[in-house]
């Protein structure tokens, strides 16, 4: 059963611990700018949006790669880079609609989320649940419950307004 990272930006507090642990896991050093995840902020407006690979089913990065260096890991479902094949053209960076394909200037190659081989550290450390690693089969149910909760709130307001109106 494959799992997927689910991001709920409303729960993100912008602490960037995910960036920190990602860089330590992958590069063995603390350097948030070498992480595979990025918390993009419009700080003074209070907007916080985590950006990470969506592991797209029809992945533009895979489609655009001229040497087929990107492939899907059958076990984890992650789109992974084969650095022995990669020619470093960075077309995948251009193609990714989310900006989730990063670039590591130390090793001069593109980097992306590989789900830490099935134990994504960002989700492991995210206390608020802004980043969760869930079974694909439960993904729809999660969104349904969230949508239903919002609807329930509206319904309560409406019924309260009616009853107050007498």
């Amino acid at each position: 059963m494959s799992k997927i990272l689910v991001i709920d930006h409303e729960k993100c507090t912008g602490c960037r611990l995910c960036e920190l642990v990602c860089s330590v896991k992958h590069e063995r050093v603390s350097n948030p700018y070498r992480a595979r995840i990025k918390i993009v902020k419009w700080e003074m407006a209070g907007k916080i949006i985590p950006v990470v690979c969506q592991q797209c089913e029809d992945a533009p990065c895979m489609g655009v790669c001229p040497v087929n260096a990107l492939s899907r890991n059958a076990e984890t479902g992650a789109v992974e880079i084969d650095y022995d094949v990669c020619i470093g053209c960075r077309m995948c960076m251009n193609a990714c609609p989310f900006g989730a394909m990063g670039y590591d200037w130390v090793n001069s190659h593109v980097i992306k989320c590989d789900l830490c081989g099935g134990d994504p550290q960002c989700a492991r450390f995210c206390e608020t649940g802004a980043i969760q690693y869930v079974e694909k089969a439960t993904l729809g149910a999660l969104k349904q419950r969230k949508g239903a909760a919002a609807l329930a709130e509206v319904m309560t307001k409406v019924s309260t307004a009616y009853s107050e109106a007498g």
Partner: protein
């Protein structure tokens, strides 16, 4: 490695920058952050320097564990001689600046002299540039950060900035970063303003080495679980530090209308749960899972639609109880304004509350305030007073001078109404029923201060066995300890233990909300020892960390003594002794501090510190700490 970060000496007068390595011996001795800050202050400032003159120094120091896998290690420490008190100027804040400065290659900045026009420092991957800040001058603390990001074309730049309060040399102005992170106390912002230093901006991509990455990851997870499983953290995650208000006002431990009562009734509107209704969520500092910063939009009035962060517990007093107001709008607007202006919320509220009591007593009149009606509870007047202080207009110009200078200007017996120690106002807390907390504010190195040595868990009625476990480690203590917060016995040691606890995390760059400040089961010296080893490779025992904290605190004492501090300044305002509390639960009602017992407490406190009767550290103590040759000018 984390230990390879450098120190930079910046001379603003001559526009020179020099860098140097930090000897490992000094790291082991002072760790970093506040510890090395104090070493640098003691070594680089000529005794007796004018706090607002070019002879003062502005120090910027990242904690030893900043940017590593030590949870909540995001603190940047700032120092100099305080323009408010003339003694230790020292404050720290979270946010994202400290890790960014480390990623940019530096742990410590020693800023000297005075620029001939406004400048800011731009720190980038080992380089430091002094840049023109003419276009930033006059802008608030947050806009200045945005303008720097726009100018340099990089949204990831983190900056420390001063607002207009710092420019106007308000003696309790802050240095700010992000929306609301404030190195709030002792007026560091005014030191920067006096040097024409508007900001320090950093952006770096240099690796911070982790000595044992896998183990450090696992241990970080362990610490996060330890911290977030505590009830106090769960509450903070929702309400921030505001939650404290629920307990302290209910009990009767807040100061109301300056210092005329200890509980404010009918204050439902400023209860944390009421303010929570305005929150759109919370925000965290770098790597922290407690995320205690509230986020909100102001609704209604001239600031409607403005995004802001906070308010903290302190602002509930500053713009609530102290000034006799019970309107959350006043708290939310006041909080926003002090953060924009870059002004200590606590000192601002205290100065206004004091002025209001003077107004009530007729010592200040509408003639003195240009018609501003400073009656307690006048919400509009509180907000107007905040504006006037920041811009040094009207009565604000006098209040901007801080407690003692303002009292001297206003004259009469206005000084009697100040709730200050060593020229720094107290939090909106009332310590008359709590001798331990009274001793803490009377002796703290910065002045009336709840963040240098407050043994807050003294209020928790913990069993003696638990107290022994906490206060008997890492240094054995077999003296008295009692669960009753009204007692005088045993409390001096609690204050000293707490000095070392806060000193340790201030040196490491860890937030105090991850210590035994508000929760007895939080990480402690043992955990910090392991964190230091896993992240930096340094092997320091819990006792070694304690010793570093003690060196830091002792240097602060030496600095204060050098600047003329005397024993009589370790004391409380008369009202603590002469006016018993009038409200609250039976355990706190009718309480005041006993002069004789309090004097004995101070004697005991000095004795435990191995200081003499005048509060001067004994020679043997200095030798055992290796401080007998300071200033030693090794950095």
């Amino acid at each position: 490695m984390a230990l390879k970060r450098k120190i930079a000496y910046i001379d603003l007068t001559n526009r020179t920058v020099k860098t140097a390595s930090i000897p490992i011996e000094l790291r082991k001795k002072f760790l970093g952050g506040r510890g090395l800050d104090m070493y640098l202050l003691y070594n680089h400032m000529e005794p007796g320097a004018d706090a607002l003159g070019p002879g003062n120094v502005a120090l910027v120091s990242a904690g030893l564990l900043v940017g590593t896998l030590a949870s909540a290690s995001a603190r940047i420490h700032l120092a100099g001689k305080s323009p408010l008190t003339g003694f230790i100027g020292s404050a720290n804040c979270g946010g994202f600046f400290a890790p960014e400065m480390r990623l940019a290659g530096f742990d410590h900045l020693v800023i000297k002299g005075k620029a001939d026009k406004p400048v800011y420092l731009w720190i980038h991957n080992g380089d430091i540039e002094i840049r023109d800040a003419g276009h930033l001058w006059g802008h608030n603390a947050q806009d200045s950060q945005t303008l720097i990001r726009e100018e340099l074309g990089d949204d990831d730049i983190q900056s420390l900035t001063i607002g207009v309060a710092g420019e106007n040399l308000v003696r309790f102005s802050c240095v700010m970063t992000s929306m609301k992170n404030a190195a709030g106390r002792t007026g560091i912002g005014a030191i920067w303003g006096s040097k024409n230093l508007k900001a320090v901006a950093a952006r770096g991509t240099m690796d911070i080495g982790i000595a044992h990455p896998e183990e450090a990851l696992d241990y970080n997870k362990e610490i996060i679980t330890q911290v977030t499983s505590a009830k106090v953290s769960k509450t903070m995650q929702k309400l921030g530090t505001m939650f404290i208000w629920g307990t302290t006002n209910t009990t009767g431990l807040v100061r109301v209308r300056n210092f005329q009562s200890n509980q404010i009734p009918h204050a439902d509107d400023i209860e944390p749960e009421s303010i929570e209704e305005e929150m759109i969520g919370t925000a965290g500092c770098f790597g922290c899972q407690v995320h205690c910063r509230g986020r909100y939009f102001i609704k209604g009035g001239p600031y409607s639609g403005t995004y802001a962060e906070g308010p903290e517990y302190t602002s509930l007093g500053a713009f609530g109880a102290e000034v006799g107001c019970t309107s959350k709008q006043t708290v939310l607007v006041g909080n926003h304004l002090v953060n924009s202006y870059g002004m200590d919320t606590l000192e601002t509220g205290s100065m206004i509350a004091w002025a209001m009591e003077l107004f009530e007593k007729g010592i200040l009149t509408e003639k003195d305030t240009n018609g501003l009606d400073l009656s307690f509870g006048n919400n509009d007047a509180v907000i107007e007073a905040v504006n006037q202080i920041a811009h040094r207009e009207g009565i604000g110009d006098i209040l901007a001078e801080g407690p003692l200078r303002a009292a001297e200007k206003i004259g009469q017996n206005s000084i009697q109404y100040l709730i200050h120690v060593k020229g720094m106002s107290n939090l909106h807390s009332d310590e008359r029923p709590t001798p331990a907390l009274s001793l803490n504010i009377a002796t703290a190195s910065r002045g009336a201060d709840h963040l240098r040595s407050r043994p807050a868990i003294d209020l928790y009625h913990l069993p003696e066995k638990v107290l022994r476990k906490i206060f008997g480690n890492p240094v054995p203590y077999d003296g008295p300890l009692t669960s009753d917060f009204r007692d005088y016995e045993g409390k001096p040691w609690e204050v000293i233990w707490q000095e070392m606890c806060y000193g340790a995390v201030d040196c490491l760059g860890i937030c105090k909300y991850h210590t035994v400040f508000l929760g007895p089961n939080m990480p402690n010296f043992d955990e910090w020892s392991k964190l230091i080893y896993l992240n930096t490779g340094l092997e320091l025992s819990p006792k070694d960390i304690w010793d570093s904290a003690e060196r830091c605190y002792t240097l602060e004492k030496l600095f204060n003594l050098r600047e003329g501090q005397t024993r009589d300044m370790d004391w409380l305002p008369d009202r603590y002794f002469d006016e018993p509390t009038d409200k609250g639960l039976p355990v706190v009602r009718g309480r005041s501090i006993d002069r004789e017992k309090f004097t004995k407490m101070i004697d005991e406190y000095y004795k435990l510190h191995e200081w003499d009767k005048k509060g001067i550290p004994k020679k043997a103590k200095l030798e055992s700490l290796g401080l007998n040759n300071e200033p030693s000018h090794q950095l």
